[in-house]
């Protein structure tokens, strides 16, 4: 229940991602054009069901296959990671996910084909990837629902600050499966409507998207840096946030203190649900009244435990391009005047806040600074 600001800067040596729109550059370009990757697809994939907003990788078919259809995506993403003896003592890997290929477990339950079991459970999946990608044994597995990637960044930072590593790789993936989509559909928040994050409307909806990403951190200087990180867990209810938004504020206040007088823009969580979207937008507008707020989940869908790292990689591309994509699919009225529905030039800003939230009032945020 405590805030944990990690205020010693960390150098972001490299980032990358894969989404339904492609790699980080292509994803950022697509968002800048206002492209929506989400499409209405059967909630249970090859097993059918109601049409809901999903954004799978273009190369994946609807059926769960063995090996999984998302493996080539991870191979391509891993090829972008700068060379280092990953998984060796001084170069740890932190693998974060919310679902770890649980679609394979669903496929095993449906078919009894044991080939699916190689990628159906967290530790088995990570071990499978470790061997496939040639990593050593210094690989940790972290999961905390939709703030998983932030937790990976936080832990990697602490290992670096403690002098236990020269560099650290945080690697994250989450892919749509009938098991997960069916679960969100049962909750009635993945429904027949496209998400419109932070829009004040009668009915909310999320979309789900495939997403994988990595970040390489070290203690170097220059470039982009994680200037502060914070997490907070409300312990209020096992799915809901405190209705007064205090949990959002508790996570963001240390980030606010670290930001000082910086001119900021904010990449929020913004899935398209109404209550959490309102709490997030209102709290951010109160704490950072001058900072434009965006979410990209109206295009890419929610990439669950990977969203923090996917959106970090897109943010780095946005900084390189000089323009920040707006909140695709959002339309006024919004929960706060700070919500940016259109893209904007980011050259006049000297910091970015990236925030993610999860079931049960779990919150995470970081401050990205850059030269």
């Amino acid at each position: 229940m405590t805030s944990s600001p990690d205020s010693q800067p960390l150098h972001l040596r490299a980032t990358g991602c894969r989404t339904a729109l492609g790699n980080a550059r292509a994803t950022c370009d697509g968002l800048l054009l206002g492209r929506r990757a989400l499409q209405f697809l059967p909630v249970l994939g090859a097993d059918g069901g109601d049409p809901v907003p999903l954004a799978p990788l273009p190369e994946r078919g609807p059926a769960e296959t063995a090996p999984p259809g998302w493996l080539p995506c991870l191979d391509a993403l891993a090829a972008e990671i700068p060379d280092a003896p990953w998984g060796a003592a001084r170069h740890p890997v932190f693998v974060t996910s919310s679902n770890f290929g649980v679609g394979s477990l669903y496929a095993f339950q449906r078919t009894r084909d044991s080939r699916h079991l190689a990628t159906g459970m967290p530790f088995a999946t990570v071990e499978f990837l470790r061997q496939r990608l040639g990593w050593g044994s210094n690989v940790a597995v972290l999961s905390h629902a939709c703030v998983s990637a932030h937790v990976g960044l936080l832990v990697a930072g602490r290992v670096l600050h403690a002098g236990l590593a020269e560099s650290a790789l945080v690697f994250s993936f989450d892919f749509i499966s009938p098991f997960v989509a069916g679960g969100f559909h049962a909750l009635k928040i993945l429904n027949g409507g496209m998400p419109a994050p932070f829009s004040d409307r009668a009915t909310g909806s999320i979309g789900l998207g495939d997403g994988a990403a990595f970040a390489v951190l070290d203690r170097g200087r220059g470039g982009c840096r994680l200037a502060a990180q914070a997490t907070y867990n409300e312990m209020h209810h096992f799915t809901a946030n405190r209705p007064d938004g205090a949990g959002f504020a508790a996570c963001l206040e240390p980030i606010q203190a670290a930001a000082g007088g910086r001119r900021l823009w904010i990449k929020g969580h913004g899935t398209g649900t109404l209550e959490a979207g309102r709490l997030e937008a209102v709290t951010l507008a109160r704490l950072f009244p001058e900072a434009p707020l965006v979410s990209w989940k109206g295009s890419l869908g929610h990439t669950l435990g990977s969203c923090g790292l996917v959106e970090l990689a897109i943010t780095i591309e946005a900084l390189a391009s000089g323009r920040t994509p707006g909140t695709v699919a959002a339309a006024p009225p919004c929960f706060a005047d700070t919500v940016a529905t259109e893209s904007f030039a980011n050259g006049g800003y000297d910091g970015v806040i990236l925030a993610s939230n999860a079931f049960g009032g779990a919150h995470a945020a970081c401050l990205l600074s850059h030269d």
Partner: protein, 93 residues
């Protein structure tokens, strides 16, 4: 004579949510079910809606619709009457 649908819905609420210390007839027709009144939370609401969908062949489309129909037993009954196939409903009083 009591409305058979209201009676059935109250029994379903008690049974589904295992409200052992509550008799169905103690649930008022017009009090909120979520947040106050029975003080159900979102997980209770989900359990209830899943059971309602099974028993009455209805389809609730969103979490907002869930919240609206569970605003009271009377609202719930009106929704079920409007959306359930006739063969799933008890006769009108």
């Amino acid at each position: 004579m009591a409305d058979a649908l209201l009676v059935r819905l109250k029994q379903l609420i008690v049974d589904t949510l295992k409200l052992d210390d509550l008799r169905p007839e103690q649930i008022p027709d017009d009090e909120p079910l979520i947040g106050s009144g029975l003080n159900l939370d979102s997980i209770d609401a989900l359990e209830l809606v899943v059971q309602l969908e099974k028993e009455f062949g209805i389809k609730v489309r969103s979490s907002e619709e869930t919240r609206a129909i569970l605003s009271s037993v009377a609202h719930l009954a009106a929704y079920v009457r409007a959306h359930a196939p006739a063969d799933k409903l008890p006769p009108l009083p």
